[in-house]
């Protein structure tokens, strides 16, 4: 029925077209690993066997694309992605303050702080790698360097995906996608260069730098404003420092305004946490769009 392994993999992909792209990628990697190992064993046992004949028996044992697809769906249904929550209907106010008990909001906050560091690293790696690869291409040893760089981009993309899934709760690939095995390294370089996924990953690495910086600046700003509102009564009453200092004159807020100021600070931070949760989800979608190949 299937003449080549690629045909089986394509059929499996078609069968899983409604599934999460990350799950499809995992299933493809597993099937590729199994089928090529089994084919190799079949060839060792009988060198004369054709790929189609050997594949027939192997697939009978491995399962049809339909059976395999349903097995992945079944297990995925039982294993929820990290941090997936069962949603309970709650009042608007409950939802607003419930953000503090939502691991996705804290995860997003942590992710955005980390994004500053990873963003700087990805950007420097991408820019250095690109310029070194391009300028060395005039020498013959420039080609292996370019290949290594592009492979490192793939590796970093997988790593970033794990981070996104752990902190933002968006399902990302758990396996690297190896589609160029058995190729000469030069063909492999060509395949990587012509693969849209590689370039999208590079775009992500550069975009992450901008986003990471913006996230970091906004988080630090809003955190300090909220904290100064909340800490204002303490500063005025215990430390006896005027909250506003201008031209050598200290101004004090009247004590009746303390509850309002503290409440304002808390509300500001709670609103911000809600926004962070939303932006985290958006970022997850961006990561999925750029890092997970169709």
């Amino acid at each position: 029925m299937f003449k080549t392994m690629e045909e089986y993999l394509d059929a499996l992909k078609t069968e899983m077209k409604d599934a999460d792209p990350a799950l499809v990628q995992d299933a493809q990697a597993d099937a590729r690993e199994h089928l090529s190992t089994a084919l190799e064993a079949a060839r060792e046992a009988n060198p004369a066997v054709s790929e189609a004949d050997a594949l027939g028996k192997i697939i009978e044992e491995y399962g049809t694309p339909e059976e395999t697809a349903s097995a992945y769906r079944e297990v995925e249904r039982r294993t929820s992605p990290a941090l997936k929550q069962t949603t309970k209907p709650r009042s608007a106010l409950g939802r607003f303050f419930g953000v503090y008990t939502d691991p996705r909001a804290w995860g997003a906050l942590l992710y955005m702080l980390i994004a500053f560091v990873t963003g700087v690293f990805y950007f420097s790696w991408a820019v250095t790698g690109l310029s070194v690869s391009i300028s060395f291409l005039i020498f013959i040893f420039g080609f292996p360097i370019a290949l290594l760089f592009l492979l490192s981009v793939r590796g970093l993309a997988l790593l970033e995906g794990r981070l996104v899934e752990a902190l933002l709760g968006i399902r990302m690939p758990r396996r690297p996608l190896f589609s160029h095995q058995g190729m000469k390294w030069f063909d492999r370089l060509k395949a990587l260069l012509t693969d849209k996924a590689t370039w999208l990953m590079l775009v992500y690495m550069i975009v992450q730098f901008v986003l990471g910086t913006v996230y970091f600046v906004i988080i630090v700003t809003v955190l300090s404003i909220s904290l100064s509102f909340i800490a204002l009564p303490f500063i005025q009453e215990v430390l006896h420092q005027g909250a506003v200092y201008n031209n050598g004159v200290r101004y004090y807020f009247p004590s009746w305004s303390y509850p309002l100021l503290v409440l304002g600070g808390l509300l500001l931070w709670t609103t911000f946490m809600n926004i962070i949760r939303g932006v985290g989800q958006l970022h997850g979608r961006l990561a999925k769009w750029l890092l997970v190949s169709e």
């Binding site: 597993d30 690993e33 199994h34 190992t37 044992e61 059976e67 097995a71 297990v75 690297p176 095995q181």
Partner: protein
């Protein structure tokens, strides 16, 4: 394996959902070396009855979910030819779980047998 009714197939599938995890943990706990999917499938084929209980393709998602739950851990290693292979190894949590699961299996087996005899 000619004509199997859809009821039977569904029953077999539901049974396999639990037993495959138990069998995979047990195989990996007995193996000294980390094993990859194809190796495990071959081993099960040799140990099992003539009729394969489950398709080999269904083992992979189970291995993956066991790893996600911290019962197995895996490393990817390049192979001489073909794509890299994922080698699975049982963790300490996995061994703990296996002990408990094997106990549950014994009790379940006894319970089902006792009721089948009537």
């Amino acid at each position: 394996m000619t004509e199997i009714s859809s009821h039977t197939r569904k029953f077999q599938k539901e049974l396999n959902a639990g037993t495959s995890s138990l069998v995979l943990l047990s195989v990996l706990s007995r193996s000294k070396e980390p094993m990859y999917g194809y190796q495990i499938a071959k081993m099960l084929e040799e140990s099992g009855p003539e009729i394969p209980m489950m398709k080999q393709g269904t083992l992979y998602p189970v291995l993956r979910s066991l790893e996600e739950n911290g019962l197995l851990e895996s490393t990817v290693e390049p192979s001489v030819s073909g794509p890299p292979r994922r080698y699975y190894k049982i963790t300490n949590d996995g061994r703990e779980a296996l002990k408990e699961w094997a106990e549950i299996w014994k009790i379940t087996k006894k319970f089902v047998d006792a009721n089948l005899k009537g």
